[in-house]
Symmetry: C2
Subunit: 268 residues, 2 copies
């Protein structure tokens, strides 16, 4: 794992993707090619792709759509990534069958289908360079682990067959920097934007911050407040909730890294 920008061996999204494709990087992608836009992957059969895209439109906080491939194509738009292949360019994948994780995979070449449609949804790792630049801590980078993620008691707006709970990522922030954290991340709505909740995890139905549903736990120091951002893993919790027959996603925290920079997405 990467502790700071100086230790990052990959200076561009393309370099990071090449390392992943060659098998030289298989870990979480937080801190990798810092400043390049990172994305959640959701691969679905074409027959439910339209309803899923409607679900994303209705739930733009957890599911901000960056790109959607043509049916059967594993290649994102060239504007997002040159010479990329979504079957090989993520460090780890999860294969969902009937809503359960059936396998963790290093590539999905053998699982690709002619009717597969791939969605790229913005990931909050994207705004971590801006957080660091603003003097905000990013605990999972300090700890060299994955970000902690939690299923909440909040329901998404349903669309067609798709419904389920909101998933959030959590970052602890010193109380005197909470306003700053809201302002910095609000500039990036395409990668989840401002937090959905500040403080008491019980209000989101989270019982224990040290037991995340996805990713790793991180310490919260005295004087710090947990901040919760909408997370693209929501799509995986939805698949679980509705027992979706077939879906492939990234393994939580193991994202697709694009060629675009965070600053291209900043809104103000």
């Amino acid at each position: 794992m990467i502790l700071d920008q100086n230790a990052d061996p990959y200076t561009t999204g393309q370099a990071a993707r090449q390392a992943v494709r060659a098998g030289r990087w298989a870990g979480p992608t937080a801190g990798l090619a810092l400043g390049y836009v990172q994305a959640n992957l959701v691969v679905l059969p074409q027959d439910c792709a339209f309803d899923f895209l409607r679900f994303c439109v209705r739930n733009p906080k957890p599911c901000p759509v960056l790109d959607v491939t043509a049916p059967g194509s594993p290649h994102p738009s060239s504007g997002w990534a040159q010479e990329a292949d979504l079957r090989t360019d993520l460090p780890r994948y999860w294969l969902y069958e009937n809503g359960q994780v059936a396998a963790e995979l290093r590539d999905i070449v053998g699982h690709w289908r002619d009717d597969a449609v791939a969605f790229l949804l913005g990931c909050s790792f994207t705004f971590e360079r801006a957080m660091l630049s603003a003097g905000l801590p990013v605990r999972h980078l300090e700890c060299g682990c994955n970000v902690p993620m939690f299923r909440t008691n909040r329901c998404c707006q349903p669309a067609g067959m798709f419904q389920g709970p909101l998933v959030v990522s959590m970052r602890p922030v010193p109380s005197h920097l909470v306003v700053q954290a809201v302002q910095v991340t609000a500039r990036y709505p395409a990668v989840h934007g401002a937090p959905v909740h500040i403080g008491d995890p019980a209000q989101l139905g989270i019982a224990d911050l040290q037991r995340p549903d996805y990713g790793d736990p991180v310490p919260i120091y005295p004087g710090e407040v947990p901040l919760f951002w909408a997370c693209g893993v929501t799509s995986q919790a939805v698949a679980q909730a509705i027992r979706l027959p077939w879906m492939i996603t990234h393994a939580p925290g193991h994202m697709f890294i694009t060629d675009r920079l965070d600053v291209e997405l900043a809104i103000a």
Copy 2:
């Protein structure tokens, strides 16, 4: 037509929709229920709806998606409009057949299909309250006519069968207020946001500003600069370009008025 906010007889989106549905309003909707979010309507058969939604994702400036109905349903999400019916609640509709306007209609009850999917795309009329509040002129409101719209020489990003030219709306702005016009409208990306072009219409392939492709011409006074915003009528130019067999839209300038306020969409 409405010349200023005081003359607007409809104080809410719902009141304006009721007037439209009852046949009491059949004109363009600029200036109506000023401050409420207005939307373009696109109705397509389900079999091309997914490709059209992918087209919108790739072209968020002209086609910012606000809502997509379930196949067969003419009712938008309750968050956008309570008790609304997209078959009756717009002042005028255009029925496209093989890419040509086959009919202008006051309602589309008799043309609705079981496989129809309705898209609501943000409309720039929404940010005209903010323009007026900032001291910017809105010439088509002053003149009591429709906004002028033009097909341009810029191509949209294609998706599936959908491809075609960008359409823009034009508002003249005194040169000393051009920066202000950019800043004010940039706050509303869900309704086209900042202009796509400032100044010389020839750079967009527009030969004569007094001969718009849709809507009405407006005067441009000495010292004013034409500003061009991406326009949802792009979807109609696309239908024409690809000779789409069947589509229903609003008549340009005759929009769907929602229950949400412009301020809910402002990003900064």
